[in-house]
Symmetry: C2
Subunit: 412 residues, 2 copies
């Protein structure tokens, strides 16, 4: 079946799904969870095919670990679906409402997008997560996972589709696209009119391709060249904690800090301290000339400032003012998360107003930019674009709105 045919079937399913009640959707999610657990052996067996192929292909152990499904990981996928069932349904929420002077009743209500395409890499647990989030928000999902997880994804989607059908909703609400060829991504990107939104989740090159070539509207997710700026008025203890946590709490996430900016007034007090602690934590520091004067700091190249390392590396620049820090961030930031550490309300206010990013952290780690941390309960990704959704995207971000205007024969 072509992507176009699958998308056409998704559209039909989306009509039913948009009209489904919360009770119907939650029942489907709970059955999906139950079936995943029941069919754990089949899923793990299918996963063994993928991990076997990865091993034969000489993939690194870290990649194979990410790909591996154990009974515990299948149970965690099921738990994720149960948690979704417990979340409020965004569909039907009245966003705005009023009665106009002429008596017309105006309501702006949340409605599903319709058909959502998701292109993702790596871990097969994303398949269940994405299917569940789309279903809860009333959207049909077209899932294009990684070629390396083909067998696992096929097994998971087969279980989910059966559960959805058995609960009385259309099985075509969740469909897996062919991951053996890039053509399926291309077809998906050109399916304007059938697919309402496309969400690429993955590396910078995937996101760039989708953004440039898609005629379907795209929600761009997550390249994060996140900065921590330590202001001259910073509490140095808080600063040290925030810098280390932002960089080292987890290295490979988009909300990990990749660049540190330190006010030059702190060149003797804070700078040697933070350099020492970062090096002790195993981080390689790529410093500008003022930072590279310290032992153990590697001189930064021009490329370092724009890099999302996703590793135990950080770039470090000494800046002479808050505005210099803002200029630097404006030039090299990716609009994800920018942090300031300062006790000065004036500095904090100026930074928060002028930095152009999805999230601004004031005296807090960049690692907090996360749907779970924000209390959204579920997250489909972190948008770094300004249109529609910015920052962690929960269920409401997977909806559009519709104006419903009720009159009694009203005319103009």
């Amino acid at each position: 079946m072509t992507v176009h045919q699958q998308a056409a079937e998704a559209r039909v399913a989306a009509i039913e799904l948009a009209a489904a009640t919360r009770a119907e959707k939650d029942a489907a999610l709970l059955l999906m969870a139950e079936r995943l657990v029941e069919r754990t052996d089949d899923i793990v067996a299918a996963n063994a095919v993928d991990t076997g192929n990865a091993r034969d292909g000489g993939q690194p152990e870290s990649m194979i670990d990410r790909l591996t499904l154990t009974p515990e990981r299948v149970a965690a996928m099921a738990d994720g679906l149960r948690q979704l069932a417990a979340l409020p349904d965004p569909v039907g929420d009245v966003v705005r409402g009023s009665t106009l002077a002429n008596g017309l009743e105006l309501r702006q209500v949340r409605v599903p997008f319709g058909v959502v395409g998701i292109v993702y890499e790596g871990r097969p647990n994303v398949t269940a997560d994405a299917a569940g989030i789309c279903l809860k928000s009333g959207n049909a999902a077209l899932l294009r996972g990684s070629g390396s997880a083909m067998s696992s994804n096929a097994a998971i989607v087969s279980v989910l589709r059966k559960a959805i059908a058995d609960s009385g909703l259309p099985a075509n609400a969740v469909q897996l696209l062919d991951a053996s060829t890039r053509d399926s991504v291309k077809e998906l990107m050109r399916a304007r009119g059938l697919v309402d939104v496309l969400i690429p989740r993955g590396g910078a090159s995937l996101i760039k391709t989708v953004v440039e070539e898609s005629t379907v509207p795209v929600i761009e997710t997550g390249v994060g060249n996140c900065h921590v700026y330590v202001d001259e008025a910073a509490d140095l203890e808080k600063a040290l904690g925030v810098v280390l946590n932002s960089k080292t709490q987890r290295l490979s996430t988009c909300n990990t800090a990749e660049s540190l900016l330190v006010h030059s007034a702190l060149s003797e007090s804070f700078l040697p301290l933070v350099i020492e602690e970062l090096i002790n934590a195993g981080v390689t520091i790529h410093g500008d000339p003022r930072a590279a004067a310290f032992d153990g700091v590697v001189p930064a190249t021009a490329e370092d400032w724009g890099k999302e390392y996703l590793s135990a590396d950080i770039s470090l620049a000494v800046v002479d003012s808050l505005d210099d820090a803002l200029d630097h961030i404006r030039r090299f930031g990716t609009g994800h998360t920018e942090a300031i550490v300062s006790e000065s309300t004036t500095a904090v206010r100026r930074f928060a107003a002028r930095v152009d990013a999805a999230a601004v952290m004031i005296n807090a780690s960049t690692r907090f930019t996360d749907g779970g941390e924000f209390g959204f309960g579920a997250e489909i990704g972190i948008s770094t674009q300004k249109l529609h959704a910015r920052g962690p995207m929960g269920l409401p971000e997977l909806t559009s709105t519709k104006y419903i205007v009720t009159g009694n024969g009203h005319t103009r």
Copy 2:
């Protein structure tokens, strides 16, 4: 100057504008209004160049009328700016806020997009409107008007820029792009990273080009193939009023009805009546076989069902059920405005839930889909896409959001 250079200057201006207070922006809007009135003679003289060229080019009188600026029309432009000053500022609105379990304070606040590109046709008054709406919402505007209004637009923008600068805001907040060549539109569409959003306002072909070729995110506006469905449970008097008003109150707008669907149960009661009244109102009816059996109804071709006539024409189909009407709308609608006339709460509920459009009118004219009618005070266009904004776009729709998270040295 190239579009790229202009966009780069707009970005710089946008930083200042984003931080401007409501008082500063309103003062600028009032000065812009005052100066437009003071410089009426210059503007009207510049406009005479455009209308002269249009006349020499053999343009129809209706086009020349739309192009013409009189002192009254300049005064109306100024009034529009004054009305904008009176509207609340969307920037800084807290959309969502909470204190997390760990004490972090989370606020999602409205912020300007940054730089907004607007490509529009026809009337030069759009220039002042668009500049004002962007300025009030804290965005720098890159305006690419019609070649036919070049001289008028240049005069208007020159006055506005001077007023903005004199009020202390950056003049580059409003810039006019070269309208003598299509290249400026192309450059604008490729200025990703400099331009945050592109809004095409104009005919279907302009919108299609921009949607397909732009790498800058687009908000699609307004092709409207709007339907009125008259249900078997309709009040016939209300139905007649709604149909006639939707079609004939103004012919050339995107919220004008272009297609009428009548339930077959009304073939003898309502159908002859509405046909007669439409013909009396000078409307040409393009009917399906059952409708074309009536005197004066022209048989519809396959193309008629998808047409946005923008003229005294309407297509007319007889349908056997509400679901047939929904199928027809799903096939031919453009997601703008769809109306139902019915006294049945069940029918109304099903129609409102299942029709996929920016606005659903229940016993009301399609002509109500309008920012002014909805009480938004200002409108930059009517979005027919589902991402970000759907339906009439007021000031809040010209903003994005930013999460501001305040801690006290919080780490994960």
